[in-house]
Structures are given as structure tokens and as C-alpha cells.
């Protein structure tokens, strides 16, 4: 299960809307149990409506912050602008970490849809996404 606050969910959605027409993306810090403490928006350096890549500078600063503050990088979010909120073959092929939570936003859906997945050994499993105030 992944737990976001209402405000964090809005930050994720706002990041993805601001990135239009490209995919939006960012990183998620939190506890190993999946309670998110920080949403870290990133520029999509792929500059594309069909693929995303987290800005390496954001990746480096987050890696160092995690190391320094004892936080955990628990996952990543990104948007699909014209398809459902479900990991594509590209997403699955490039999912680096079986411990991560992969949050997908569909801006094709009305209202926008936010879902969370685990990707382990190429298998996709949707998990409960809990939104708390």
C-alpha cells in the first residue's frame, strides 16, 4: 500500500498538468512502509509526450538528501497524457527497483486518475493507494 496526503496527490497532479503536453514526473520519499513524506517534482528531461526521464540533477540531490537525512526513496510518479494509468512495457522494462512504488497518472481520464503499482520481476501488481488528509 502507498499512502499520500491530499496535498501530495495535488502536487503530483499539478506537476503532471504543468508538464503538458509532455509527460510529467517526480520522485517520492517516505518510509519503507510506503507512507510518503515528500513529493519531489522533476523536469522531464526527455522533453517528450511519450517518455519521461527524471532530471539527473534532481536524482543526485535526492540521492544525497536520502543519504544525509536517513530517508528512503520509495518510488517515482509520472503521467500518461493519452493513455490509462497503467505501466507500459517501457515502464516495466525500465522499472529499476522491486521495492519501489510506481505511481501512474492518467490525464486522458476525466477526472485525472492516480494509481500505484509494484513491478517485481516484470510482473505488474496494482496496490492500494490511500489518500489521507
Amino acid at each position: 500500500m502507498l499512502t499520500l496526503t491530499t496535498s501530495q496527490r495535488e502536487t503530483i497532479l499539478a506537476t503532471c498538468v504543468r508538464a503538458l503536453p509532455n509527460e510529467g514526473c517526480g520522485l517520492l520519499l517516505g518510509s519503507p512502509e510506503g507512507v510518503v513524506s515528500d513529493v519531489i517534482p522533476s523536469e522531464n528531461v526527455a522533453d517528450s509526450a511519450k517518455i519521461y526521464e527524471i532530471d539527473p540533477k534532481v536524482l543526485l540531490s535526492t540521492f544525497r538528501r536520502v543519504d544525509h537525512d536517513g530517508l528512503t526513496l520509495v518510488g517515482v510518479f509520472h503521467s500518461h497524457t493519452h493513455s490509462e494509468a497503467y505501466p507500459s512495457p517501457t515502464d516495466v522494462g525500465q522499472a529499476p527497483d522491486p521495492t519501489w512504488h510506481y505511481v501512474l497518472v492518467s490525464l486522458a481520464a476525466r477526472p485525472a486518475q492516480v494509481r500505484s503499482f509494484r513491478v517485481i520481476d516484470g510482473r505488474v501488481n496494482e496496490e492500494t493507494l490511500s489518500i489521507e488528509d
Binding site: 527524471i54 505501466p87 507500459s88 515502464d91
Partner: protein
Amino acid sequence: MSAVLRIPTVLRPVMGGESVIAVEGSTVGEVLTTLTTTYPAIKGQLLNDDGTLHRFLNVYVNDDDVRYLGGVEASVRNNDEITLLPAVAGGAI
């Protein structure tokens, strides 16, 4: 030259579980080649067959992205800190 290599969580299972190790080499290429000898399972994630940096690997020497320092030719000095960060990427296709 002896430098410090910082290893992200995702690479630790194929690099002996360590988070920080000492590495030898005067260039990034030498360091990475040595790593692929020590940890063969990681080879495909670090270097292409032609010896260039893998597209989805970010390598930093201290605060500098080595893609702007000559890639595998980038110099490594004593006590430099090298960080490996696999790209986080994907997309709808």
C-alpha cells in the same frame, strides 16, 4: 588513484550489498571496467559493448556529470567521490 564510490540501493544487490567502496583507476572508464571485473553481473548496466557509458547510467565525479567531462575519459583524482545513479525513466510507449 583511489577514489570513493557511492552505490545506490538499486545496485547494491549486484555489488556485494555495499553502499560505499574504495575504487582504483585514473579515469571513469578504468574505474567502471574494474567494477565489471569484480561484479560481472553489473556489466550491462554500466558500459556498452564499445566501452562507452550506458545510456541509462548517470555517473558523477564529485558534483560533476561525467558526460560533460569526456565520459569514460573523465579524470579521477585521489579521494574523488564517484556516484553511480541509474536513470529513472519510462513512458507511455
